[in-house]
């Protein structure tokens, strides 16, 4: 090559270009547009990163049967999902909490009706590093409030929370030793954050006249996986994620048992979630755009499949807990009747 005459090189250049161009054109021509027959259309799903794995699993199975239907699934967070949903951008919004009145109002402003379908149950696991031997095995809501509640701002040692914990009473693990407290959790846009606040923080905060939120100074991420990484970073860390994420990372993490209403320490397991004895559990939903169901056959077919035995099996496959038969029946009835609006709040 190095010895080739310059004239030859000059002649070659255009032929290279032509060959490249030809290759590109062939590639473009070969890709035929769509397939013939069968179901076609497009389905766009977004919302909770907690529900995302279920919807992906269902989408993958559905895609095998109807390869021509365009499906995309994303997980930016429940709040972001509802924003897109009420803008009319997406067909299904995954949610790890029920839709809020403000979000319903947003949807109404744009004349968007939704069908609320409860599809699974998730628990929130309160996590620490497996190397954490300093704090014990079990926490109560009061313990949690004293280290991540609105009054725990700037506590960077567990022991900083001791006076607050003493004030609250009903603690289980407190008083805490003097070890580093690094808190990592889902961001405020996440349904996991909302559920955690609602279940763990809200009642005590309301009693004490505090805002219903966690401390603002914790490491927040919408991506549950980042939370898992954060929690494994320090031995005496604290964090919380959806149960499925904990389950798929059991080897790297340790979950605290949580004191329930009867005063017993309960670990998060499929059975304790299903029977409700584990105190931090919540329902998972999909919200379906009611109007688009009418004129998008692929969408209605997809939701049918989602609620079928094969579709709903995805719930356990990705690590969540299935609804009781009665609840699943109620969901199916709501779908068959195309029942719009929020059902249980």
């Amino acid at each position: 090559m190095r010895h080739s005459a310059p004239a030859q090189g000059r002649l070659k250049a255009p032929s290279h270009l032509a060959r490249l161009l030809a290759a590109l054109l062939t590639a473009a021509a070969c890709a035929s547009p769509g397939g013939a027959g069968g179901l076609a259309g497009s389905i766009v799903i977004s919302g909770s990163s907690t529900v995302e794995p279920i919807s992906i699993a269902v989408a993958e199975k559905f895609h095998e049967r109807h390869p021509v239907v365009d499906i995309s699934v994303d997980g930016p967070g429940t709040g972001d999902g509802f924003e897109l949903f009420c803008d009319g951008e997406i067909h299904i919004s995954n949610a790890s909490r029920p839709i809020r009145p403000a979000e319903i109002a947003d949807c109404e402003d744009n004349d968007i009706q939704f069908i609320e379908l409860k599809i699974a149950i998730d628990g929130i696991a309160v996590l620490t590093s497996p190397n954490n031997n300093a704090i014990g095995e079990c926490l109560s809501f009061a313990d949690l409030y004293s280290v991540v509640g609105p009054e725990s701002r700037r506590f960077d040692r567990w022991s900083d929370a001791n006076s607050l914990a003493a004030e609250l009473g009903e603690t289980h693990a407190a008083p805490f030793p003097d070890v580093a407290l690094d808190v990592t959790g889902p961001g405020e846009e996440s349904g996991t954050y909302d559920s955690f606040v609602e279940i763990v923080i809200e009642e005590i905060a309301a009693e004490r006249g505090q805002p219903e939120q966690t401390r603002p100074d914790y490491q927040a991420s919408a991506d549950d996986n980042v939370v898992v990484q954060g929690v494994t970073g320090t031995d005496t860390s604290l964090g919380w994620v959806g149960y499925a994420f904990f389950k798929s990372n059991k080897s790297q993490l340790k979950a605290f048992e949580i004191v329930n209403e009867d005063g017993a320490c309960v670990a998060a397991t499929p059975s304790s979630l299903a029977d409700g004895s584990y105190p931090i559990s919540r329902p998972l939903f999909i919200y379906v755009h009611a109007e688009k169901v009418e004129d998008n056959e692929a969408l209605s077919e997809f939701v049918d499949f989602y609620l079928s035995d094969e579709g709903i099996a995805s719930v356990t496959e990705v690590g969540y807990v299935v609804l009781t038969p009665g609840e699943l029946e109620a969901t199916k009835d709501a779908w068959e009747a195309r029942e719009t609006g929020a059902r249980d709040t």
């Binding site: 090189g9 890709a31 547009p33 919807s55 994303d74 990372n249």
Partner: protein, 314 residues
């Protein structure tokens, strides 16, 4: 000075310098620092390369075809980057078709035609500043213009969240870089070349075409390809434009009609997989990084080959 220095001083000093065994400590320290800087860079690069290649090797050797052509998946063992490569390919096409001609054209105008007024200097400074604007800001710009305002053109069925929007956004992102590097290359052309052209009666256009551009060509090429590599590696603007990361069906078609559908691209795939906790994704991510590195390397190598050919011809 001359009056106070003995006449013998200068030759004395020179002889000392030449024969003396004095150790040049400052000079040695300086070159040692430079060497250390180089070694740190090379070591970091080597560690990074070793890490990703080592991590991704099992995937790249055990299922290379499936990995390069496969789709996004929740299962690490089935996950592939076909859709990511497709998105990155079209982004490159948009950058080449949009940013290169506009950027090089603007640079030629600025250097060869524009009079040196306060306005042109202001424009010049502004373009330099634009090159330093964080990419996420360009993402917001792309979101506002291509996704929202021009959504009916960029992707009527996908709310504008398409590879067209992404490609145009990244083209705008690298436009200032293309302009600056091209302008520098054109500025480096000696004026004597231009004067020679004008001297034999050539018009401005003829001088630019036959003297300036061939001379500045290699420099322009280097700058544009560096810009292309930058565009291929950006993730932040793609997040705002709305690349899909969870599951995508049909996002691997090279058919032109598919440009208006939802998409994903290599940096987004890598970004998303990095966050996944399942062990299989660690290796898949490393493999995807290796592939993206290879793509960028091929782009750079092509530019170097083209440049060498140009330079030989010059």
């Amino acid at each position: 000075m001359i009056g106070t220095t003995p006449a013998t001083y200068a030759p004395e000093a020179v002889r000392k310098r030449l024969q003396g065994k004095r150790f040049d400590a400052k000079g040695f320290a300086f070159s040692a620092c430079l060497l250390a800087a180089l070694l740190i860079t090379v070591t970091l690069l080597a560690v990074l390369l070793y890490d990703v290649i080592n991590g991704g090797w099992s995937v790249l050797t055990s299922r290379p075809i499936e990995f390069l052509t496969g789709s996004l998946s929740s299962a690490a063992a089935d996950a592939g980057i076909g859709q990511g490569l497709r998105g990155t390919f079209f982004i490159a096409v948009f950058v080449i078709l949009v940013a290169f001609p506009i950027g090089i054209g603007a640079a030629i105008y600025l250097e060869e035609y524009a009079p040196s007024t306060r306005l042109t200097r202001l424009i010049d400074v502004n373009i330099r500043n634009l090159a330093g604007v964080p990419s996420v800001v360009y993402g917001l710009l792309g979101f506002a213009i291509f996704v929202k305002a021009l959504g009916s053109f960029t992707g009527p069925d996908a709310n504008g969240r398409t590879v067209i929007s992404a490609g145009l956004t990244l083209a705008i992102l690298v436009l200032p870089i293309v302009i600056i590097t091209s302008a520098e290359a054109i500025r480096a052309v000696p004026d004597s070349l231009r004067e020679a052209g004008f001297g034999v009666g050539a018009t401005r256009w003829e001088v630019i075409r036959s003297h300036v551009l061939p001379y500045a060509g290699p420099g322009i090429l280097t700058g544009t390809v560096l810009a292309l590599a930058r565009a291929l590696g950006e993730a932040a603007p793609l997040i705002l434009v709305g690349a899909t990361t969870g599951f995508l069906s049909g996002g691997d078609s090279y058919n032109l009609a598919s440009l208006q559908g939802r998409f994903t691209a290599m940096p987004m795939v890598i970004y998303n997989w990095t966050g996944r906790p399942q062990p299989g994704f660690e290796t898949a991510t490393a493999a995807a990084i290796v592939v993206l590195l290879a793509v960028v390397l091929v782009a750079n190598a092509t530019a170097i080959l083209l440049r060498n050919r140009y330079e030989k011809r010059r």
